[in-house]
């Protein structure tokens, strides 16, 4: 029941927004997300991180009710360490994302916050679904609010850009739907339950088809290199809260799904295609970093750097090692937090100066030292400086990649160097130095401090004590590895 409540609460509470005056929308939305965060904290407290040895005993707070009985579709949800991590990410980031909009007035705010909360419900739904069909519904449902958020409140050229984004992601998911239906027809008892899907022993050819149908959907969502072209435009044109939802949480849907659906169902195809995927990732990392170096606008730069980061995360997963998995989990959380911080920094600069062109900025440090320091720490975290949350994840990912092949590591390691180049240069040009045109730049307001200080706190805390994440996800990781190696045994 707890899991179902986690999904349902934001959506149904959001309906309240329409009963209250529009001026209250922001406060009510914040209250709802805070309540949800407290609720999540309570669920963490109840969560048992001890060892279990099967999928369904790993899962906790399971709820399984018939939904569409005649089709074998259930409302089947549960939490394991991996899901829990994603739920934590979603529910703790949302209050911050709402807070970043505190100084902003949107037209039709009730609809805006309603869509945001609806998105939260859908995201939690994706992360806890144990029924493939239910998972697909939530997967698609998450797309609709963000589509409207960008379409209605977005910037220039939003119609074309949102459209490309929608069609692109829908293409991926429809192929995934076809694969899900096909898998369903293979199950002995005609269900969409994840346990039945895991129990399938597909022959290698079938695995290849299923793998690509799923992987395409995720590669578009994450996005990996040839499928990334929707991303920078969408991030740039979206209102900032939308970019945060997209990059902080939504793209993790793709990474999470690789763990949850691709690896255990098609392990042979995964190991057959590891090199191809790694090449996609590594080329993407270098390409995106290279483009990022040339960017002159902060939001676009953060968008491209995000492609480089998620490329590395995906590469770590496909090494199929415990280090890689753990690194990916930590880095998912770290990237989510950092990218929200970065987009908020861009938002603050945009509000104060009316531009995010790096060249037009500068000299902010003297005027707003607190802001400059916060931005600096977030920058350090995203270039993976030791003692920040970015370091542990990136280190584990690179070391797992090194175990797999040092060639890939050499190239992927460029991300760290190039990342330092563009992030530090952007910081230097936009914040430090002298700029006679920059005369007024108010330091952080209280609501802004309430966002940036906790983010900085999280960055440092998880930089020093990452153990919590290891503990939370370790059982899921071990189980996944066991499941994969079990599947590998039959003839390939």
């Amino acid at each position: 029941m707890i899991t179902a409540a986690l999904i349902a609460f934001p959506f149904f509470a959001a309906l309240l927004l329409f009963l209250l005056p529009a001026t209250m929308a922001k406060k009510v939305a914040l209250a709802i997300t805070l309540l949800q965060a407290v609720f999540t904290a309570y669920v963490i407290y109840l969560f048992d991180i001890n060892e279990h040895r099967s999928l369904l005993s790993n899962m906790q707070f399971i709820l399984s009710e018939n939904w569409i009985h005649s089709m074998g579709i259930r409302f089947f949800v549960g939490l394991d360490g991996l899901s829990m991590l994603m739920v934590i990410l979603t529910n703790f980031l949302l209050p911050f994302i709402v807070l970043t909009t505190w100084n902003k007035e949107f037209k039709n705010p009730r609809l805006f916050y309603f869509l945001m909360l609806m998105m939260q419900s859908a995201l939690v739904g994706v992360f806890v679904s144990l029924d493939a069909f239910l998972y697909y519904i939530f997967w698609e449902l998450a797309l609709i609010p963000i589509y409207f958020i960008v379409l209605i409140w977005g910037g220039e050229n939003r119609v074309k850009i949102t459209f490309k984004f929608f069609i692109y992601t829908l293409l991926g998911s429809l192929l995934m739907l076809a694969a899900i239906i096909w898998l369903y027809l293979q199950t002995s008892d005609y269900t969409f339950g994840i346990d039945s899907f895991y129990a399938l022993r597909l022959d290698p050819t079938a695995q290849r088809w299923v793998f690509w149908a799923f992987f395409l959907a995720y590669a578009i969502k994450i996005p990996l290199l040839p499928f990334h072209s929707w991303q920078p435009d969408t991030y740039t044109t979206a209102p900032n809260a939308g970019s945060m939802l997209l990059s902080g949480i939504m793209l993790k849907m793709g990474i999470y799904s690789i763990f949850r659906w691709i690896l255990p169902i098609t392990p042979m195809a995964v190991s057959a295609y590891t090199d191809i995927v790694l090449i996609m990732c590594v080329v993407g990392i270098i390409y995106a970093s290279w483009i990022a170096v040339g960017q002159t606008e902060l939001k676009r730069l953060f968008a491209w750097s995000s492609i480089a980061h998620v490329g590395l995360i995906t590469a770590g997963i496909f090494t199929l090692s415990r280090t890689g998995f753990q690194g990916a989990m930590i880095q998912m959380l770290a990237h989510g937090v950092n990218v929200v911080g970065l987009f908020f920094v861009a938002e603050i600069i945009q509000q104060r100066t009316g531009t995010t062109e790096i060249q037009k900025l500068g000299g902010i440090r003297q005027l707003a030292p607190v802001f400059a320091s916060c931005y600096m720490i977030i920058t350090f975290a995203s270039v993976a400086l030791p003692l920040t949350n970015g370091f542990i994840g990136e280190f584990l990912l690179l070391s797992s990649l090194y175990d797999y092949s040092y060639v890939f590591t050499a190239f992927a390691g460029l991300t760290v160097i190039l990342g330092a180049v563009y992030m530090l240069r952007a910081y230097k040009t936009s914040i430090l130095g002298e700029n006679s045109a920059m005369t007024i730049f108010a330091d952080l307001t209280i609501s802004e401090r309430l966002v940036l200080f906790p983010i900085v706190g999280i960055i440092i805390f998880f930089g020093l004590f990452p153990q919590f994440i290891f503990n939370l996800t370790d059982e899921s990781v071990k189980y996944l590895l066991m499941e994969i190696s079990n599947h590998m045994v039959p003839t390939i």
């Binding site: 939904w67 009985h69 379409l151 119609v159 929608f166 076809a178 369903y184």
Partner: protein, 459 residues
Amino acid sequence: MTTLVLLSLLGFLILFLGAFDQKKLILPSAVLGLIAAFFTNALDWGTNRLWYSMMLYDNYAISFIGLMILTVIFILLIASYQFRNEGSHIADIYALMIFVLVGALVMTSYSNLVMLFIGIEILSIALYILVGSRRMNLSSNEASLKYFLMGAFASGFLLFGITLVYGVTGSFDLAAISDYANGTENLPIIFNTGLILILIGFAFKIGAVPFHFWTPDVYQGAPTLITAFMATVVKTAGIAAFYRLFDTCFSGIDGVWYNVLWVISIATILLGNISAIMQNEAKRMLAWSSVAHAGYLLLPVLALNELSSSSIFYYTAAYSIASVTAFGVLIAISQFNNDLQIDQYKGLAKNNPFLTFALVISMFSLAGIPPLAGFFGKYFVFLTAMESNLNIAVIIAIAGSLIGVYYYFRPVIFAFNNDGQEMERIKTSWVFNFVLAICIGITLLLGIFPDIISALPGI
């Protein structure tokens, strides 16, 4: 049978009410009569009664008849809004619509090819007049003539096919034809020719490629209400009759018709969707999209397994309700704008939140976005097709529905895209709003609890 008699009498009653100038009574009596018909129809559930070996009221027929009666009720109630200021011949239009329904009823419950033909003719002849019911309007007249000529051809093909099948089997009865078809080793060429001719006749009626040419012109020329009526009730009746014939008689024999139908359905999906992209006129866009939907509906006919009938029913239900909503919004907007370009949805969202919501729900449902009814319709159709290993067809159909998203989203984008323009608040009657609200409710409900329909036994 009670339903059939009731509906026929209702048609005459309305004609008489019109003749004696009792205009106020027309709509209430039509709606009440239809509601009564809905219940008498529902009472037959599970009886499987065969009438004089001509008509079989099985659950399949009863569910389709119920759906069509419900759609007509919605359309009539929306019509009350459009016709409130209009001319004197409302009674004729309502009566003709009910006669179309009588024809549709016969088409879904026939168990004899003669009844099929009679049903199609009752439906078509009333429809020819309805399409031309804007007597002073040139395009309406053109549409009527076109539809008549094309319809006559289609009937000709169908009749020719029926004759050939009769010539081989010696019977019009579906059971007898089925026995012959399944019991004969090498079917004579004449039988197969007849089968293909019947298939062509049906393809004409439901507007499948390459027999679709009449659809856009006729849909555009006809009064919007009649267009809505054709896109929903007539299409439902056509596909229901189509499936009934092929399921009962020709399921055992494959080969000839299978390949033809495969090509037809794929071509229909692709051409319908691609052509719909290029339309700027809202009604033409919906017309082409209805061609595409006919293509999706042919997939379960092709698959012909135990899921087919329920997936066809679910799809037509979702599609009909969403279409009624879409056409309702279109009618409300076109009150103020004479022509119906898609960009005239511009700025709708600003002052008309309810109409915008209805537009979004209907377009998303037609495009197949979860968790709306239209998505489950597509899902069931794909599932049915994949169960019969029509994987390639499903992949193409998926590509088609991706194209569909493009044109279904255009009105929505325009509605929210209010740079410069704002549409003034559109006044609508409470009956109209009520119907739209019910349709939205059904679309959501069918999406969240698809079991309501898919669990119906014996469809």
